[in-house]
């Protein structure tokens, strides 16, 4: 009898996980995407205020394959996807592992609205392969995957669930607390929710809306209160991107975080990138949603504590 019973009992979850990942590959191959692999160990992560990379020698383990994949868009690859491990220092909880599995996909001549359509088609395809119709059970509720899914602006979400306006929450430095405590549990209940149009300061790599530049063309997908994916209409202005990186890096250093070098090659090549959209989706969380799991621990072979 298996000595490691917690591992043995995860067999059916890990079998389902493998089927889900196979279906993700089948879906993107069918949509004309090229599967790519970019290095996991990189010299210069994208500086983001609240994401910490794990050092690896003088370099870092990537927190996302975003910069390398955008360099591929700039070099003429029109539709690419990748499934890889990413590392984020200090992130551990029932929805977080410091090493986790990410799915990212990017396409040229698209914006964040196209990414919403991709999400709907992908999640429905994966649900079908798992033997679900267009209804799944998740977090004690039934969720219909029939389209179109709810699209809710961040500002509207604050008015509806947050008890104060988004502007007031930003002003009083309560944006994250209200989002976690009051808004997230209401998102993706009954049907999935795209919460979109974040304040400009909360999308360091996102394009701002042309007619409303205080808003970033960014969305997050929620199902059953669980955040699954983050998408942008990608910023292609290299000067603006460099300015934002410097601001994020200054914030990081002011918090006593280790310095990152500026990702020079990415910034050099960014001006060649056509208008594009991209998205990062947590594969472990997608498996959680489809298996109705309460903790991310249930859908991976090993947690860091078990190594």
């Amino acid at each position: 009898m298996a000595k490691n019973w917690p591992l043995a009992r995860r067999r059916s979850a890990l079998q389902a996980r493998a089927r889900i990942i196979q279906e993700i590959r089948r879906f993107f191959n069918g949509e004309g995407y090229l599967e790519v692999e970019t290095p996991l160990r990189i010299p210069a992560p994208a500086p983001e205020s609240h994401i910490d990379a794990v050092p690896s020698g003088a370099w870092f383990l990537h927190t996302s394959p975003e910069l390398c994949m955008k360099r591929m868009l700039a070099a003429g690859y029109g539709r690419i996807f990748q499934i890889c491990h990413c590392w984020r220092d200090g992130e551990r909880g029932s929805l977080h592992l410091p090493e986790f599995t990410m799915l990212e996909w990017y396409r040229i001549d698209a914006d964040y609205r196209d990414m919403m359509d991709d999400c709907e088609a992908l999640v429905r395809a994966v649900a079908h392969i798992m033997g679900f119709g267009n209804t799944i059970r998740c977090m004690d509720g039934e969720i219909s995957l029939n389209g179109p899914w709810e699209r809710l602006r961040v500002g509207e979400a604050f008015e509806r669930y947050g008890g104060m306006s988004m502007e007031e929450a930003l002003e009083r430095d309560l944006f994250d607390e209200i989002m976690v405590r009051d808004i997230e549990p209401q998102l993706g209940i009954g049907k999935p929710t795209f919460i979109c149009d974040y304040p400009a300061a909360r999308g360091a790599l996102a394009r701002l809306q042309e007619n409303n530049p205080v808003v970033a063309e960014r969305f997050e997908l929620y199902i059953g209160g669980l955040e699954l994916a983050n998408a942008f209409s990608e910023l292609t202005d290299a000067v603006e991107q460099k300015r934002r990186f410097l601001a994020e890096e200054e914030y990081r250093r002011s918090q006593g975080r280790p310095p990152y070098p500026l990702p020079g090659n990415f910034l050099d090549e960014l001006s060649n990138m056509p208008p594009s959209a991209g998205i990062a989706l947590g594969v472990d969380r997608l498996v959680m949603v489809l298996l109705n799991a309460e903790s991310i621990d249930e859908v991976v072979a090993f947690t860091p504590e078990e190594l």
């Binding site: 009898m1 298996a2 019973w5 043995a8 009992r9 995860r10 067999r11 059916s12 983001e48 205020s49 609240h50 994401i51 200090g90 992130e91 551990r92 909880g93 029932s94 929805l95 977080h96 944006f175 994250d176 607390e177 989002m179 976690v180 405590r181 997230e184 974040y198 909360r202 999308g203 360091a204 997050e220 955040e227 983050n230």
Partner: protein, 187 residues
Amino acid sequence: MYTVADLRKGLKVTLDGDPYIVIAFDFAKPGKGQALYRTKLRNMINGTILDRTYRSGETFDPAHLEERKMQFLYKEDDHYCFMDNQTYEQTHVSEDALGDAKNYLIDNLPVSVLLFKEKAIGVDVPNFVNLRVIKTDPWAKGDTSGSDSKPATVETGYVLRVPPFIEEGELITIDTRTGEYSTRVKG
């Protein structure tokens, strides 16, 4: 002094002068936002439950509690009776104050009774406790995968998930920090 990195279920801290115990804890991070530490805390004196969210960098004072080594004697109504190993003095603790610890109390179990201003307000049990299974379904023949689980009731009345090969009458080790099955005790 504790930091947010020390937060876990069972940690005891001082808030507004009162001792509180963390009864639920999770890490949260809204997309691209900052790390938040969500806690549910129970006031160990009056039972009030608080929901508090902390940011990285925040610190906590440990709860100032006196610990006395005792053993569990018996339960009477909604009170549990413990005896001091040195003075033989007996102390009562209410069921509410025990929290999850009541799931593991068998005769003579060594515990630490926690006192605040001379009043017993909680009990720490050992990290691992051996309890006998008094009720569970028999092992379905032919299932050798060990990949399933089934409910089992132990002698304290506590119900947990165990591997399919565990039979009634067997002794199992439970991790009291998680409440989960750990191993089978051989022999």
